[in-house]
Symmetry: C2
Subunit: 352 residues, 2 copies
Amino acid sequence: MVTIKQISEKLRLSPATVSRALNGYPEVSAKTRILVEETARNLNYRPNQLAKKLATGRSGMIGLVLPPSNDKGFDPTFFDVMTGLSRRLTELDLDLVFHAPVFGDDIEPFRRLVGKQAVDGFIVTNPRLSDARIDFLLEEDIPFVVHGRNASEQPGFAYFDIDNFRVGYDATKLLLDLGHRKICFLNGPDDVHFSFERKRGFEKALADHGSDAASGAVRHGRMSESYGYREALAALSLPPAQRPTAFVSSSTIIAAGILRAVRDKGLRVPDDVSIVSHDDAPPQLDAMGFDPALTVTYSPLRDACGPLADILQGLLNGENLDKLQITEEAELIVRQSTGPSPSVDQSKGQTA
Amino acid sequence: MVTIKQISEKLRLSPATVSRALNGYPEVSAKTRILVEETARNLNYRPNQLAKKLATGRSGMIGLVLPPSNDKGFDPTFFDVMTGLSRRLTELDLDLVFHAPVFGDDIEPFRRLVGKQAVDGFIVTNPRLSDARIDFLLEEDIPFVVHGRNASEQPGFAYFDIDNFRVGYDATKLLLDLGHRKICFLNGPDDVHFSFERKRGFEKALADHGSDAASGAVRHGRMSESYGYREALAALSLPPAQRPTAFVSSSTIIAAGILRAVRDKGLRVPDDVSIVSHDDAPPQLDAMGFDPALTVTYSPLRDACGPLADILQGLLNGENLDKLQITEEAELIVRQSTGPSPSVDQSKGQTA
DNA sequence: TTGAAAGCGCTAACAT
DNA sequence: ATGTTAGCGCTTTCAA
């Protein structure tokens, strides 16, 4: 184990100068810097992170806790985010400390990590509208960034989110413009912010459409293939007058279920039924690979990892909060799963 | 932030005594200890891990790196193990540092973590028969425990494994005893130790059975439903004389594929085809919930987490290696997916 | 049984 | 541009 002291002795310099040279401080002479860097390399010097941390008061560790209520089968999505975060944090020379809460106590891992002063900050995923973890961290004044948001209008914390209102709005508007008048929205759980926002967008698009008799139904549920299948089957089994001609889906996995239900009913996409889904590009499911290729609002989860890491680092470096609250747009990609409403002549122009 | 020094001042003791009292050293008087512990509690004292680590030279962190070549969709199994490990390590007051390698360089995260002296040891999962990570850690003389084994007969490292020879042997023997003579083994990948061992067990059971014309075929592949389906379908499409009457499967997910193939062929389990699978109880798939309930060799992955953590701690505490190389038996559980070979009279006793 | 003092390896005022 | 000094909070000889 070669230390700064050893380098300094060898070079007949003070440890302080060596430290400065190694850490890129401006006041060391070019000559000294070169010399120090060279010997450090030759001696295969590795800074002792622990000592560094003790001296600076920062641990270089970021806490990531498995979100609660993942009792039955976990969210593969979380894993996707975790690996992405790890990669980006590594570039920032930060390490990810992972904890899984024992069932029943979701904030214990936070309390623990905070108590041990083991981490400089947290990344919070899968926030709920009302989230005890966020409340705790706010209370304790620990730096953290949230992937998504909670219910508050003006969150007092850093976050990265997509514009879920627009996700709901754009998808719905597209369908309305295609002439669909009965639209069924298979949304996510009812206690998360993104579901809430998408529903708002859905309803706003419907309202904006005007007095025209467009109507929509919103369902909430745990995002899964079977949820999509079950709800879509039920909707498609309604009498013709109430049967939807289009679905909005909050995830590709739900869309897979919808697609299966449509087929089981002997219907075709997009001729009889249109589908537009949100696509966060989970690693195991490719919306483009669907048959037909899915029209989506596109915003890969892994694209959030870089920003999340960067935001947290900004936070740790004392940057201003309002630069650290970011909302990004999802991109509407029209593919083959959407078409004109069957009851409407394709050539007829729509008034938006 | 209350420190040892503050406690010592308040109590008019030396920091050393406070430290000793807090860490359960035998030489402090009962009176002092009580006093110190009480004030520590009142002041809500939290030892600074960093300082502790600097002084002791141990980081209290364990490295866990996502195993390589999980490019397309990751192994949910790994996630299961990771959460289990986190829970147990927490009890041992160790924290898990997670890293995901960037594609192409599997040992870079190890090199990095070792270089930074960020962790005291590693847990290595999904070992290959020849594994660069193991070679690296051995070379660098870093403590680590492997979940499974590599190809070496006498590994020079700590590991926790199940008796995969017996897994293959027991499953096969059960089928032979039921009168099956054509058995198809859908094994895991061919470059991992467990596949190798199970294959050995499979072949040994066949050999032990004697001159009697029992024959087996072994397939290797990435464990997935589609692999099971594809291979089983192919096997069941053989001419009757070569068609297997029983399958051995290396995972429940493969077994699901086999089951689907059997059904697609219009056959029944166990009347026409028997299935015995290894069951490591992945969170998303319950072998008991199969229809019919699966006969399995049972050894939940999560049961390995405790031992793995304990072994690593033993290693860090300098325990002897031979106490830290553990092989456990899997349990054969006979349920409804196995029955007598269709060509054999059910009442006829078999000579094992 | 307790205290004093040194040190883990590094950083950061404050001098020079 | 470089050196001196003092810590960060804790553990651990050594001495009393």
